[in-house]
Amino acid sequence: MYAAIAAARNGSSVLLLDKSLVGRGGATIMAQMTVAAAISHQEPDHWTLHLADTKEAGRDICDGVLSEILCEDAPKRIHEMDQWGAHWAREEGHIKQVVAPGHSRSRCCYVDFLNTGPAVAGTLRRQVSKMETIKRLSNVAVTDVLVHDGQAVGAVGLDVIEGEVVTFEAKAVILAAGGLTKLYSRNSASTNMAGEAYALALWAGAELIDMEFVQFFPIAHLAPRLVGMDPIMWDPFRYKLGGRLLNGNFEEFIHLYGGSDAGKYTAVRDLASYAILKEVEAGRGSPHGGVYLDFSHLPEAELRGAFGPVIDRLLANGIDLTKMPIEVGPTAHYQMGGVRVNGRMETSVNGLYAAGEAVGGANGANRLSGNAISEALVFGERAGRFAAEQARHVTSAWNARLAAPAVDQVRTLQEHKGKSGVHPVTLQSELKDLMWENAGPFRTADKLTMSLARINEIQRHDFTDLAISRERQFNLDLQDWFELRAMLTTAKAVVTAALARTESRGAHQRLDFPDSDASFVKNQVLQLKNGRLTVGWTPVVQSQVKVVEI
């Protein structure tokens, strides 16, 4: 949405497409924590300090250009959002900022109460709707970006309401379709986060960078079933209050794995995931395949003080923390890798841009909390601005014939009588389990190779004969089919990249290569050439900016 606003105010007429309802379908509206920006309201801060923290978490492979832009521009975006009425929490007249793990300063803004994401999404929606040159279209799932002579010229989409194909002519196309965590059976994702931006980019001829770096959140909520709350909410409470992690036998266990803790922020998080999954593997997990997080040793008053109104929301969910532990475990949460862009958010395909979580590289091997929404705002603004500039200078190379194969594809599917009896949603479930088991938080060559073989087989075989129900209106089978097609491409990119990086770094942990290897201080670039995924490496563009001490 920020990209649309920026493009419109730079003179473009914009079409904003969303497969869900505009501004409701993605991760942004779900975020409940914070947004990081060095605005120095709470205490003196500087964007170069934010950059230093971002690089530290990114374990030497952040793209210097992108991480500088992220940290330098974030304050501008926070202020602009403030003018647009985002209602950042305030105290004594200034925007209130807190420290989140990995940040060296009180830098993280939020909106009360646990309302950051809805406020950000709502503010952008309002702003978008005020701009006459933005046309919003909900219920359009983009299935292909059209490229002619190396130039993006438009897109094809599925009108999910009527089951019709729609084509769009454009002088520039921005991919802002969010992350990929729906690839994993355990995720914090919305149903629309199927990694389609990455697949669309690859198919269009663009490059992906560092796809192996999927962030797994160690103690996401597993059970009892909790609704209306962010599944990753437990982390701050655990730090603040000293919640205890217990295995299925109600014994503490983290210390058993303590020896391998390198003492780093990322190591600490990775260690918790590792210890939890090892306990589960040894048959000492909790009933839902995680471990217990227990606050029952703490007095109720202390819990109330720390949780505030959240404690009542938990009670409404049947969770009384003074009496019972909850179950937690690692879950797929965010993708650090993504579409490879330069500082103008341009991909290697002329006229094709990316923004938000779809962009790879700014956060390197691991992301600080609060950096993702900043990134969505910052990269969105730039993508919109530079795409508008592009649109002013090119003439449309649109040709309706370019859309014909994509249009035929939908028609064929609508006629298709799959003999397998398997529906796309079922195959999606298999892929998600496959990815969780074999390309999840801890990886080995054997498991990655096995999953790659299965993905190839699914693409060649199972995927070609799926059963699709015949209804025209709101046919989820059809939507699932397109989503699955992209998920397979994106899953393959993740697995291929994970296999090639034979070391452990940040969020990419290889059990068969447990150490970081200095020769891997480089970025991995994937591209489709003649239908085959190729792997290349490129030196990291290190930021040369010096930290301004204050």
Partner: protein, 123 residues
Amino acid sequence: MSAISGEKTALLRVWRGGPDQEGRYDTFKVPYEDGMSVLDALRWIRRHVDSSLAIRYSCINANACKTCMAVVNDRVEYTCTARLEPTTVTVKPLPKRSVIRDLVTDTTPAEEKLESFNQERGQ
């Protein structure tokens, strides 16, 4: 959430049909676990029994997207926060909206509809 083994089940009576149709109720037996939402059950049905069931939702857990509304046992609710009970639960589309199919009703703001765009570009 994957299939859950357990003795308790819920019976979902789900309205099926298109615009201006009388429609019918299909009944699905769904494995029940404490705390499950009605949306969990509908998603289970799509995965395991009938993928042609039309439902709209996005955020699943956060109750943030507000796209999943339907009538659950005669009350308008978010299906993602409506608790499932191990009894019979009736789910219908929203009453004052036109039906697109099954539980999906027309909740898209007029200016975000494709029709308005097609009119503008003269198709």
